[in-house]
């Protein structure tokens, strides 16, 4: 089981959290002006990388707040967690 550092509560076991998919997908401001391909890209295409992934988690059975995380999808190791609204941390 993963240990996840909630930016509000600290380190907690994975079963307290729910996963929210890829982070930083911004809903287009004016969907009506988009073509079908761009809309489909927003709705369905995902980067799904082998390596660093920015993703949303929610501390459902704790503080109930959403936050973002950077995780290496090959080792499952968390590299950073950060609050919604904060910039994606630069790991370099």
């Amino acid at each position: 089981m993963l240990l996840i550092v909630c930016p509000y509560c600290g380190e907690r076991p994975e079963i307290e959290f729910s996963y929210g998919g890829e982070a930083h997908l911004v809903r287009p401001k004016d969907p009506a002006s988009l073509g079908d391909a761009e809309w489909a890209d927003y709705l369905y295409a995902r980067s799904n990388p082998k390596g660093v992934h920015a993703e949303r988690w929610r501390h459902t059975h704790g503080c109930a707040r959403f936050f973002n995380a950077l995780r290496d999808t090959l080792s499952d190791r968390f590299l950073a967690t950060y609050r919604i609204g904060e910039q994606r941390p630069d790991l370099a």
């Binding site: 089981m1 993963l2 994975e14 295409a45 799904n48």
Partner: protein
């Protein structure tokens, strides 16, 4: 190819079984092939076999980053059935099921296909309604599926507990008698041996690291850990790694890769006659011919390529198994593992040409593509050879997400199998 038969078995036993040849070669990659398949799972090996056998393409290679059959083909719980809801899916999965029925003979390889019946348990009024709808839809499509009462389900599968006191009572079941299991490794080995015999080069420990495209955009070559290989046709059949491979050609896929776990018990005498599955409490189980109970657990919550998951996932599954089959409560589990499954938003696969000329993709089989192995392989070969889809896989494009013609099998595939 040395053919397998009772006679050849006896003949080789006289020689102490020292006369058997390796079942496939391990050739060095050539500089150029007419087609290259990425991924030596059952789907990729099968596609190479059908390309050679049915489309006369002999100068082809299957490239595999690890060992053949070491991906999800060798990690799955081998459930085979075709009782999916929509017309497109029923045609696709039943195409595969029909090929399964003759596969051992076709390949001269015992894939141990066993039509012992797949029974899906209903625990809620909603389950009952959905499954009955499936039964009717399947029968309208010529796919066998029948409704069983709880008592009939117990008769079909005596270890099943249907008595009072269950948190999720068994209200009935849908049974596909033509469904069953097969030996997963044998499927990969059988296709590898048959493809090799037709001249296909199977190149293991050869990871594709880049796809080269020409000025007009068409594919020209793959870069691999064993050098560059020129080719005008690339069929990607890389399951959980599909997004990574397709990104090499600049394509973003509607896919996410998740760990899916399974486990087996210590081997015991034959006592479980069929495949039983429960979507609602998420468990599925069968007994292998070795005697192990083969148990499928759920997907882990997050995108990953780690090929393992967390223990609370199989623990939950075992709770469900113990509830449904109390006689297994004292069984010990022997091994637990994970594979990486590529999941589409509508839980249906993608088997199609792409916007890149010469690039074809077979992916998105997610938690349930073993059952499709011969069908997917056959249709991928067709699509590559003719540069157009077969009518059966024509609906399974990438563009269906853009065009709003998704094939939503989330209900049929809600349990991971």
């Amino acid at each position: 190819m040395q053919r397998f038969s009772a006679l050849s078995l006896i003949r080789h036993s006289l020689g102490g079984h020292l006369g058997w040849q390796p079942q496939w070669r391990s050739p060095e990659p050539k500089a150029e092939y007419d087609a290259v398949i990425v991924g030596a799972g059952g789907h990729g090996l099968g596609a190479a076999y059908y390309l050679a056998k049915e489309h006369g393409m002999r100068n082809i290679a299957v490239l595999e980053k690890g060992w053949l059959g070491g991906g999800n083909t060798g990690r799955n719980t081998t459930i085979i059935r075709s009782n999916y809801l929509y017309d497109e899916s029923a045609a696709l999965y039943d195409h595969a099921l029909k090929l399964w029925e003759n596969l051992s003979r076709e390949l001269n390889y015992n894939v141990m296909f066993s039509q012992r019946g797949v029974m899906m348990l209903a625990h809620t009024v909603h389950d009952v309604q959905i499954f009955k709808r499936h039964v009717h839809a399947n029968r309208a499509n010529g796919v066998d599926n029948e409704w069983l009462t709880a008592e009939q389900a117990k008769e079909f599968c005596p270890p099943l507990h249907i008595g009072p006191g269950l948190r999720y009572p068994v209200l009935g079941a849908a049974l596909q008698r033509r469904g069953g299991t097969a030996r997963h490794d044998a499927v990969a080995w059988g296709y590898a041996r048959a493809a090799d015999a037709l001249g296909v080069d199977i190149i293991q420990n050869c990871e594709v690291t880049a796809i080269r495209r020409g000025t007009a955009g068409a594919v020209e070559a793959v870069e691999t850990s064993r050098g560059a290989i020129r080719t005008r046709k690339i069929g990607v059949s890389a399951a959980g790694n599909t997004s990574v491979v397709m990104a090499m050609a600049g394509l973003r896929m509607p896919l996410e890769s998740y760990p899916l776990q399974a486990l087996v018990s210590e081997p015991v005498k034959p006592m479980f006659p069929c495949v039983a599955m429960s979507n609602t409490i998420h468990a599925y189980i069968s007994q292998s011919d070795k005697g192990e109970l083969v148990i499928g657990a759920g997907m882990d919550a997050y995108v990953s390529y780690s090929q393992h998951g967390a223990l609370h996932i199989p623990a939950q599954t075992l709770e469900a198994i113990c509830e449904l089959f109390p006689m297994f409560r004292r069984m010990r589990m022997l091994r637990n593992w994970g594979g990486i499954v590529d999941v589409t938003p509508d839980r249906s696969p993608i088997l199609a040409k792409t916007e890149v000329a010469g690039l074809y993709v077979n992916c998105g089989w997610g938690t349930g593509g073993f059952k499709a192995t011969p069908g997917a392989a056959h249709l991928l070969a067709w699509t590559i050879a003719k540069d157009e889809p077969h009518p059966i896989n024509a609906p399974f494009t990438i563009e269906r997400f853009r065009d709003g013609v998704v094939i939503d099998e989330a209900a049929a595939a809600a349990v991971s199998h």
